[in-house]
């Protein structure tokens, strides 16, 4: 639970991620998705309640070693290149030099930044920064990938590339928590969804169970939110 003097941003929220699944956290603007994600990765702390990852506190360094996180609109050191930034991240995870070199080169290729790897990040477009945001979250080969609006600002081609990559990660056993308002992408990638509205989880379950036949996620989402107004 996260509260301040004026408003409870997130209240009475509880959910569990199963190993290897992709969980979509969806909700209207201002519903509390980003705050929830920030609490999970330890950027902000709840006023009450607990968050556990791998049965440990979410703020422990051991847990952080196994998490990959991409914030909404990721920002970087303007004077560094993508290559330098990923090396910096690899060093923070104490990854061996030769291993880091191989991983960075593979990741840069996967997210489509290999041609721009040596350019200063300050010259990158929003889409390129989104790609780099995802790249830095993958350096430690995380067991859990937590992504806040990862497809925002990408062109259709970029969205398709990143979606394919996330599906590949899911296939390889990585657990994914995806916070997004692009519902068609959530529907494609995720196994389960949780709908947050005014800081509370109002609906949760497997996509194919929750959504009635003949409806897509977007239609179901709109109907659910409207029924709560």
């Amino acid at each position: 639970m996260r509260a301040d003097k004026l408003l409870r941003v997130v209240d009475n929220l509880s959910f569990t991620l199963k190993k290897g699944e992709a969980y979509g956290l969806i909700g209207p603007n201002g519903a509390g998705k980003t705050t929830t994600v920030k609490m999970i990765v330890g950027l902000t702390s709840p006023d009450s309640g607990t968050i556990s990852i791998f049965n440990q506190s979410n703020t422990s360094l051991e847990v952080r070693q196994r998490i990959g996180f991409m914030p909404e609109n990721p920002a970087f050191y303007a004077y560094l290149s993508a290559q330098e930034f990923l090396w910096f991240v690899a060093r923070l995870f104490h990854i061996e030099k030769h291993e880091a070199k191989a991983r960075i080169s593979k990741i840069l290729k996967s997210v489509g930044l290999d041609q721009a790897a040596d350019r200063a990040i300050r010259g990158y477009s929003k889409g390129m920064k989104q790609r780099l945001g995802l790249a830095q979250a993958l350096v430690n080969q995380p067991d859990i990938l937590i992504l806040d609006e990862p497809l925002d600002g990408l062109d259709p081609l970029g969205r398709s590339d990143i979606k394919d990559y996330l599906l590949e990660m899911k296939k390889s056993g990585t657990t994914i928590l995806l916070s997004s308002h692009i519902l068609s992408d959530v529907e494609e990638i995720c196994d389960r969804i949780g709908i947050i509205h005014r800081g509370t989880l109002i609906e949760e379950g497997a996509i194919d169970v929750v959504i009635p036949k003949g409806m897509n996620l977007e239609e179901y989402f709109v109907k659910t939110i409207k029924s709560r107004k």
Partner: protein, 255 residues
């Protein structure tokens, strides 16, 4: 330790490419060249002009860099958003603060080294001899003073914006050099409260006059090793204290 080195190396890389650094360093180099020409028209005061103004230049431009870059260092990270990427990684706030401090320290040392080389060249051209050991000790103590200001800007940067952070650091720089004046004024009044207050200022605010050896350098007077050691220990303790408080302030911050 590896994490601190990684953050320090990254901070060094980032600050060394900052345009503000180039501007301040360029101005510093111009200043040093100007001092040399000034000394050539100062009749028999030339050597003194080079020593005095040269040493002031090394301190002044170091302070300028620490305030301009140091005040932005944490702010850019926190408000700019890189903190959102960094803090979920396996690093503690203490490692982060210490790393940032050492990264900027390396930048400051590099710039001070460039200015020192120009200063020594000017000194040699003016005196046809190398400076005495006290001149080098004065430069080292100036760097220690600059590092206290760096730690102050990091501390202020952990909870305020760059303008406030620069103003606070500048204010403490001025207070730190006015301690004897403050005590003298307080003692003259005889008010016990004011005298007590001046003592509080002494213990809380940095006594930067401890690092001012320029008068000894100008008159070529040696400083005892005990005095040098006490100044060094004072700087280490004060910087450690400031970085500790900065860590606590950062830990309390929500992102």
């Amino acid at each position: 330790m590896n994490t601190i080195i990684t953050i320090a190396r990254n901070t060094f890389k980032e600050t060394i490419r900052d345009r503000i650094l180039y501007s301040v360093t360029f101005l510093g180099i111009l200043y040093m060249i100007f001092i040399f020409f000034l000394s050539t028209i100062s009749l028999d005061q030339g050597p003194r002009v080079v020593t005095d103004f040269g040493l002031v230049g090394i301190l002044f431009f170091g302070i300028a860099i620490s305030i301009f870059i140091g005040a932005n260092l944490l702010y850019k990270e926190i408000i700019g958003g890189t903190a959102l990427i960094l803090f979920p990684k396996p690093i503690s706030k203490m490692q982060y603060i210490i790393g940032k401090f050492f990264g900027l320290t390396c930048t400051i040392i590099l710039v001070s080294l460039i200015l020192t080389i120009i200063f020594i060249a000017g000194f040699w051209l003016q005196n046809h001899k190398w400076p005495q050991i006290i001149v080098y000790e004065t430069i080292v103590f100036s760097i220690l003073e600059i590092l206290i200001i760096v730690a102050l800007t990091i501390l202020f940067g952990s909870f305020s914006n760059p303008i406030s952070s620069s103003l606070y650091s500048l204010a403490l720089f001025l207070v730190g050099h006015s301690y004897s004046l403050i005590v003298r004024t307080a003692t003259m009044g005889g008010n016990k409260f004011v005298i007590g207050l001046s003592k509080v200022i002494y213990y809380i605010f940095p006594n930067l006059e401890k690092f001012n050896l320029r008068i000894y350098a100008v008159h070529d007077i040696a400083v005892s090793s005990g005095e040098l050691l006490s100044g060094f220990i004072y700087a280490v303790i004060y910087i450690t204290f400031l970085l500790f408080v900065a860590t606590v302030a950062l830990k309390k911050r929500e992102f």
